[in-house]
Symmetry: none
Subunit: 194 residues, 4 copies
Amino acid sequence: MVSDTKSKKSTYKAQKKKKIAENALDLILTKGLSHFTMDDVARETGVSKGTLYLYFDSKDTLIITAFGILVERLKNYISNLLPEETPKEEKAKAIIKLYSKIIKEFPSDDLLRLFEILINSIHDKKRLKELGDLFHDYYSQLFDLWSEFVPNKTTAIILQAMIDGIGIYKSVGVNFKEGELCTSLEYIIGKIIS
Amino acid sequence: MVSDTKSKKSTYKAQKKKKIAENALDLILTKGLSHFTMDDVARETGVSKGTLYLYFDSKDTLIITAFGILVERLKNYISNLLPEETPKEEKAKAIIKLYSKIIKEFPSDDLLRLFEILINSIHDKKRLKELGDLFHDYYSQLFDLWSEFVPNKTTAIILQAMIDGIGIYKSVGVNFKEGELCTSLEYIIGKIIS
Amino acid sequence: MVSDTKSKKSTYKAQKKKKIAENALDLILTKGLSHFTMDDVARETGVSKGTLYLYFDSKDTLIITAFGILVERLKNYISNLLPEETPKEEKAKAIIKLYSKIIKEFPSDDLLRLFEILINSIHDKKRLKELGDLFHDYYSQLFDLWSEFVPNKTTAIILQAMIDGIGIYKSVGVNFKEGELCTSLEYIIGKIIS
Amino acid sequence: MVSDTKSKKSTYKAQKKKKIAENALDLILTKGLSHFTMDDVARETGVSKGTLYLYFDSKDTLIITAFGILVERLKNYISNLLPEETPKEEKAKAIIKLYSKIIKEFPSDDLLRLFEILINSIHDKKRLKELGDLFHDYYSQLFDLWSEFVPNKTTAIILQAMIDGIGIYKSVGVNFKEGELCTSLEYIIGKIIS
DNA sequence: AATGAATGAGCGTTCATTCAT
DNA sequence: GATGAATGAACGCTCATTCAT
């Protein structure tokens, strides 16, 4: 009984904590990492500012948790795009299609924020380490996608870096001829996984 | 005489302006875009805060100028790496070597800052526009490198995005097996420009 | 109970807000509208500068609230001078006496500040509008005083302008022969309301 | 010869000084006493900021000189409105017309600035004294206008205070029914000087 | 006489964090 | 557990004044 109550309570606390972090994340995505305030988060969540500090030591910890949620979101996004079971020989084509789709449809602002948060943490080694670990979760999943078609993991990472690089380029205003982007991507990936 | 005096004076002012912007850049590289202050810049340059505003309208203008210097630095860095005249057939190998070298030696923190500044300006459309124009200077030079070996400019951009993506990955803590990185890069580039 | 607590709290906040505004007003009266600072107000009130912004959006809002208090003070001052019920035929004489008294005893520095605040807000149309509305509260009460004896409201306004003009003249150093001021005033008012 | 040169020089200096003060005045009239800067004055006059301090000890001195010019302007304005020679019996009507005209056409913003400057100097007794003396020049001329029709100087001052009070009222947003203003003014003045 | 670069104290405002209730 | 009032250090920016040239 007691343990039940406890777990209920802890569930309640965990949910509240998550809600706060999710709201923080939304605000980061909207306003940017260095423009969202604890006031914003409190208002959005409908709690007082002091309450935030019952769940998070500092703004920094909140950012890290929010980052974790973002990583989770991106992972889910990718998972949902993947065909459940693909005959091996079709996978090459599937992966080309997948990335064409990602590049077109990708919520690249989300991706960008992920890098925004990471990059802004460069000056704080401790935070960077924590975020880096979370980021690892995200990209290790992606690397698996490539692994069947490329000779080693490093090549897989490079290809994923290419995709993310494109996302970042788009976000900072590089103009791609929309048609060409997918064609070229297919051309490159085709060459590599052939 | 007069014009001599004038030019001396204007040189003096221009140099001072540059010195301020360089110090600002150094501070941005060290402390991060949203943690360096005008006080920092003044202290570092050995002038009063008010003086900064004789040379720059606002912190924003200073950032943009500093960004321009960073772009210039990166351009020079690349230029110096390029062999003056390469027989065409050697160029493919040269470019592979070049990028292997870049990836190894690259002052990737500088590159990262360039993206840090760009990404942090996402929420300020006006500033992003100005920075984007400067950024264009930098990458158009790079794109030219690739253009001989790839079918179109878009493909060139994608390849450059790959290089920058790798730089960013490294900076945020992705571990590459050092030996494999260059080998894989050569493998990929080789496949594409073949 | 709850509402009691609430009202206590809101009373507390309201009182604190009023206290801040009153201190601001005192500082405005002492140092002048463009020389009092938020630091002054904080120091005087014994709170931190940040606290001021919990109660007022900006210095401007604080000024407007302070102005409102000044208007209130002046209204009360006038109200207290007015005889509760005067037989109509006596009112003419009463009003002459009243204004003689006002002119003599008037806290004309307060009146002057009222105009100081108004006049200094000429260059900020939005603020002038808000202050003007508050000012209207003050003078409409005064105009009523005159209305029984003059043909229309405009004449009433003019007479009040005369009183205020005298106040301002005195404040900026015009020397009235003390005895003559009341006599002349009585002479003029007498002629008009006769 | 020498004295000639001297006087030429001093004339030059005097003219430059006046030009600076006039520009300062224009800026005060436009931007308000507490929003015009020495930079503004220097720019407007086409000299360097340092030069201003060759002609004026401080911003304060400049303001006082500018005020003197404003007083002069107002005096001239009034002088030009006055009929050179009026048969005595016509003067009563003339003066009513004059003031109706003044009230209608008056550059009341200028008048307002005069009071703005005066009022803002309340907190600086030394400056108020100097400005008050200049102001005396202005209103003593006006008082003469009234003196023929009123029993004493004090009454004259009061009537002038009425005119200025109206100007201030208008400037701070009191709405007069345009037609009634002159009629009422005529009514009041008529009663008094009859 | 004139310059204009330089100063530095000061301003209004923000915001992560604390703590009494 | 939750509040929200309070803090205070910091920030970007301004401007009257000075002084070497």
